[in-house]
């Protein structure tokens, strides 16, 4: 692996021999079991997601605490359901009535529009 890059003195060479001899003797006392070498990802597959438990618990608790305090704008400020067909019709009728007045329509035409509007409004209230 490494190349000897420094000349060893006699003392260092002797020390090296003694150390190599010593570590060779240590071999018999040192061993590992294959069972101890388990990849971290497969050490306990059924426990892999356990670390998420405290986070999930904290998130759930936070939600229960914070959610009721959070103002829900749509619920407190009801918005007319403009997407209903009748509301579009009512709005259109208002525009037609306004246009009829501006264009100097005959009174019976304007009355007819108002009656139609009254009918639609009554229908919306019933529903």
């Amino acid at each position: 692996m490494t190349t000897p890059s420094t000349q060893k003195t006699p003392a260092e060479q002797a020390l090296k021999a003694r150390l190599e001899q010593w570590v060779e003797l240590q071999q018999s006392e040192l061993s590992l079991r294959w069972q101890d070498i388990q990849p971290r990802s497969t050490l306990a597959p059924h426990r892999q997601w356990l670390w998420l438990a405290p986070i999930a618990t904290a998130a759930a608790v936070a939600w229960f605490v914070v959610a009721p305090l959070t103002p829900t704008a749509p619920a407190m400020q009801p918005v007319p359901p403009m997407l209903l067909a009748d509301n579009y019709t009512l709005d259109a009728l208002d525009q037609r009535i306004q246009a009829a007045y501006l264009q100097g329509a005959a009174p019976h035409q304007i009355d007819a529009l108002w009656q139609e509007r009254a009918y639609l409004q009554a229908k919306e209230q019933v529903l």
């Binding site: 003195t9 003392a11 002797a14 020390l15 190599e20 071999q27 040192l30 061993s31 971290r40």
Partner: protein, 180 residues
């Protein structure tokens, strides 16, 4: 020292291990268990620590094996990983038992010129345990593993001069202990 990191292992076994096959990983473990343990035993005072670090080395090796491009380089790669693991352990603040820089130069001519003092040493392990962790790393890697002072300086992130001073001081300590 030929610690066995150059052991032959087939590229097919390496590739199979890279694919996550446990049987191939086990072959690698059986072949390289001894060199990893030997190197770490030399670096660690306690055999239990050497065993724990070796276990960590193999777990890391199999987790990072996909980073290895050339199967023939496995031995060197594993040795590097073993050293990195040891250095990472001994670099932890809680495991550093003394400073590294600014140490006084020691006179080393007497021990360098003679080896007879070693012949008086009966228990080399006890003598070795007199060294600090850093000193032991330097002595083992320089004397046994033939790393240069410059290489060790890069590993330890200190100057080569500091490595040389520390190494000389460690050997002087060994000699002093051997005669006491």
């Amino acid at each position: 020292m030929n610690t066995g990191f150059g052991s032959d292992i087939s590229p097919d076994t390496i590739r199979a291990a890279q694919e996550g096959r446990r049987d191939a990983q086990r072959v690698i473990f059986e072949v390289f268990q001894r060199p990893v343990l030997t190197l770490l035993r030399g670096l660690c005072k306690e055999p239990e620590l050497a065993r724990d670090l070796a276990q960590d080395v193999f777990v890391q090796a199999f987790a990072k094996l996909n980073q290895l491009r050339e199967a023939s380089a496995f031995g060197g790669w594993l040795k590097q990983l073993t050293l990195n693991t040891a250095f990472a352990y001994f670099r932890r603040p809680t495991n550093q038992n003394n400073s590294i820089e600014d140490e006084p130069e020691v006179e080393t001519d007497d021990w360098q010129s003679q080896a007879d003092w070693l012949s008086r040493v009966d228990d080399i392990e006890t003598l070795l345990n007199a060294l600090s962790d850093d000193e032991r790393l330097l002595v083992w890697l320089f004397v046994v593993e033939d790393y240069s002072h410059q290489e060790l300086a890069e590993y330890m992130n200190i100057s080569a001069t500091a490595v040389r001073q520390r190494y000389h001081r460690a050997l002087q300590k060994l000699k002093d202990r051997s005669s006491s």
